[in-house]
Symmetry: C2
Subunit: 435 residues, 2 copies
């Protein structure tokens, strides 16, 4: 037996924010207190919760005297050893976190906006103060990924991370694929079910995924990647037709977050992507998230689970609180900032991949020859062409060989000037092992 | 930046065994030394390697003076802080590990036979001596699973683990499914490719998977499960016809390791299993492994990767060595034995699931009525029946509702005495959400 009762280390926790995730944290730490104590030797108690308004609805019952609207009641309480920041956004979260660190408190946060923007400064301040800042819940909800990236896989050189890391968009794309539904209709359904917010822009335009991939890329490649470094493109232009054509070609369309590292630098981007139906990420559906890691010793790994929700996110927060509590009891520290290098971040123009292009054209002799010559003039080589329909409403669907974004965009630009093309219906990047 | 050079903690490691995994460990710790040091602050050096025979082939070059045939040169070296045991099997591995612990060394092992048989005693001895014993590589190769089970998910109550955790059998079943190949032919191919051993019994009969699920169940359910507690059935009776029929019914056949925990006790078993094609485990193919965890707060999680091979297993060993090295540098301890409870282990007879039964029968009126009445008499309710063929060579394929193994086996026993049945071609358990 690992622990007898009287050796238990009592660890006192303060919360900033008590919305969906905060309520889950309170619930787990209360309902699972004995289990956690017996498993880890730590008696963890939430002692103080700062909220914006006492009248705001809470999803968990807490004694009145535990709740306060004064943040200082948490940050200024010398008894509290761990502060859990769950208010989200940059300010005032950033000031509160820095303040907590400077007052000798360890911090756990689920704040992806904050960690993808000021992660370097925060971890540096924590290092100076001898504090731990953990942020497992900021990426992939319940999925344990930051600990593997920073510690379990520390013997590996990681070349690439591919992630389906936004549940809202994955739900929408799954519905579009399964029900042949238009984007707007699928979005409305997601909103009705609570999977998308009233203002869905942050999810739908890829910004949420961009923050998460920035955080993972920083840990995997040991060089700081900021949210603003991530090229980001949302899913609002994807149509059910694209999804059907993709399937015909052997691909699924996912909003993929992609980070890769090679001699020429780091590439980080979020965009709708065709991936082979046989790839493990292709069958990650509905609100599920998955992170695919390509490591030199471990090989390919995938971590799959619920990327959002009260209890899944709270599970990750509690895991971090437990890690800190164990250190408080037994000594020891978590791995802090590992961005010891300063690698170049490539521009999107340098990115190399394959492209799917869907063109509306009248079915006239010579059209394809004109299109092919535009691609050829821009050094874009075509791998396959399929024509659908005919007459005045033909569609040409083509997939290129690997080419730089720069050449591809030049080709697209030239295509726009070609009178025989009615419209460029869509351009979607293709990630596979092909050339 | 986390670490400056002169703060580096030097950690000296000894290896017992230098076969495929050991060679990988030496290679990673040598080639990635600087990366590991900068990421974790630890300078980790392999100083001594004990092998059985100096003439045995090694897959990595090491200085002659580092290699010895005397185990005492490792265990008795006061400079070595960590001993990595990679000789496998119970003895002498067990004595060496216990000896290392008693001499104040931390231990990392990839030995599933040992940890699934003497894990309790070893972790207890380590606890008494204040040492860490880590064994991430004993389950799922490169896949980080023990740390999540013991720490990251410590706030969760885990109800079930489903694992595709033997690469050899998964490769064989994948080939059988994709190429309509017989078991023997697929096994021969696996042997030719080095995915199966000359004597494949340990893999093919499910014993390897049984050891791994025993180790995971112990950590997940906080009650010691031994290898001998696991009901084990191999894949040698699965035919390409079963796989084709399963697909017709919407299932894939996998060698599944299943551990579940409820009020009535723990159930742990390894057997060929039909799982819905839509289940994330159904598309885990070839030599890949995956572990599916059902947790109350986190929800469903899956960990996927390479379950075997020199570098993948070595990646996990190195992750464990790094965890210990970090503790040696900064203080702190890993979570040890978490089996604080003593839960009842259910007999296979109590297990409840659905069953697929394939019967060879002559196509005569009244046959189905006789079969149905045998099931009925044994309280087994039939969910669906499909007949293939006709004349004297008909096959009846049926799937039952959920029923205990005991009732099912009684029904099978009665079926055997039924003159109208030519043969019971196969009985395969079905795991799904149905009733």
């Amino acid at each position: 037996m690992a622990v007898s009762g009287n050796e238990l280390g009592l660890v006192k926790v303060g919360l900033l924010g008590c919305g969906t995730v905060g309520s889950g944290v309170v619930q787990i730490l209360r309902d699972r207190a004995e289990l956690i104590a017996r498993r880890t030797g730590c008696d963890i108690r939430v002692r103080k919760i700062a909220v914006r308004d006492l009248a705001d609805p809470r999803y968990v019952e807490v004694p009145d005297e535990m709740v306060t609207t004064r943040v200082e009641d948490v940050l200024g309480d010398p008894e509290l050893q761990v502060v859990v920041e769950l208010i989200g956004g940059i300010e005032p979260a950033r000031s509160f976190v820095m303040d907590a660190i400077s007052r000798g408190k360890h911090v756990v946060t689920a704040n992806k906006a904050l960690m993808s923007t000021y992660g370097g400064e925060i971890l540096e301040a924590a290092e100076q103060a001898g504090m731990d800042v953990l942020y497992e819940a900021s990426v992939g909800g319940a999925i344990p990924i930051m600990h593997p990236l920073k510690e379990g896989l520390a013997g590996n050189s990681i070349s690439r991370i591919l992630g389906v890391i936004n549940g809202t968009t994955n739900y929408i794309l799954t519905r579009m694929a399964e029900e042949d539904m238009a984007f707007r209709a699928a979005l409305s359904e997601a909103q009705r079910l609570g999977y998308a917010e009233a203002n869905p822009e942050n999810d739908v335009e890829g910004r949420d995924a961009a923050a998460k991939i920035a955080i993972m890329a920083s840990a995997a490649f040991n060089s700081r990647v900021h949210l603003e470094d991530v090229y980001t493109e949302g899913i609002s232009r994807v149509t059910p037709a694209d999804i059907a054509y993709a399937r015909e070609l052997g691909y699924a369309i996912k909003l993929l977050a992609i980070a890769s590292d090679d001699e020429s630098g780091i590439s980080v981007r979020v965009h709708p992507t065709m991936i082979p139906l046989k790839h493990a990420l292709a069958s990650v559906n509905d609100v599920f998230n998955a992170i695919f890691v390509e490591a030199d010793a471990a090989g390919d790994l995938m971590f799959y689970g619920r990327g959002a929700g009260s209890l899944p996110a709270a599970s990750a927060v509690v895991g971090d609180v437990i890690a800190i509590a164990r250190n408080l009891r037994a000594g020891g520290r978590e791995v802090g900032c590992t961005c010891f290098a300063t690698k170049r971040i490539k521009s999107m123009n340098e990115t190399v991949c394959r492209y799917y292009v869907l063109l509306d054209v009248p079915d006239r002799p010579g059209v394809l020859a004109q299109i092919a010559s535009v691609f050829g003039n821009n050094q874009v080589s075509i791998k396959s062409v399929i024509q659908h329909g005919g007459g005045t409403e033909a569609r040409i669907m083509l997939v290129t060989h690997r080419v730089t974004e720069e050449s591809m965009m030049a080709a697209i630009h030239s295509l726009m000037t070609l009178p025989v093309i009615s419209s460029i219906a869509n351009v979607i990047r293709v990630e596979d092992e092909g050339d």
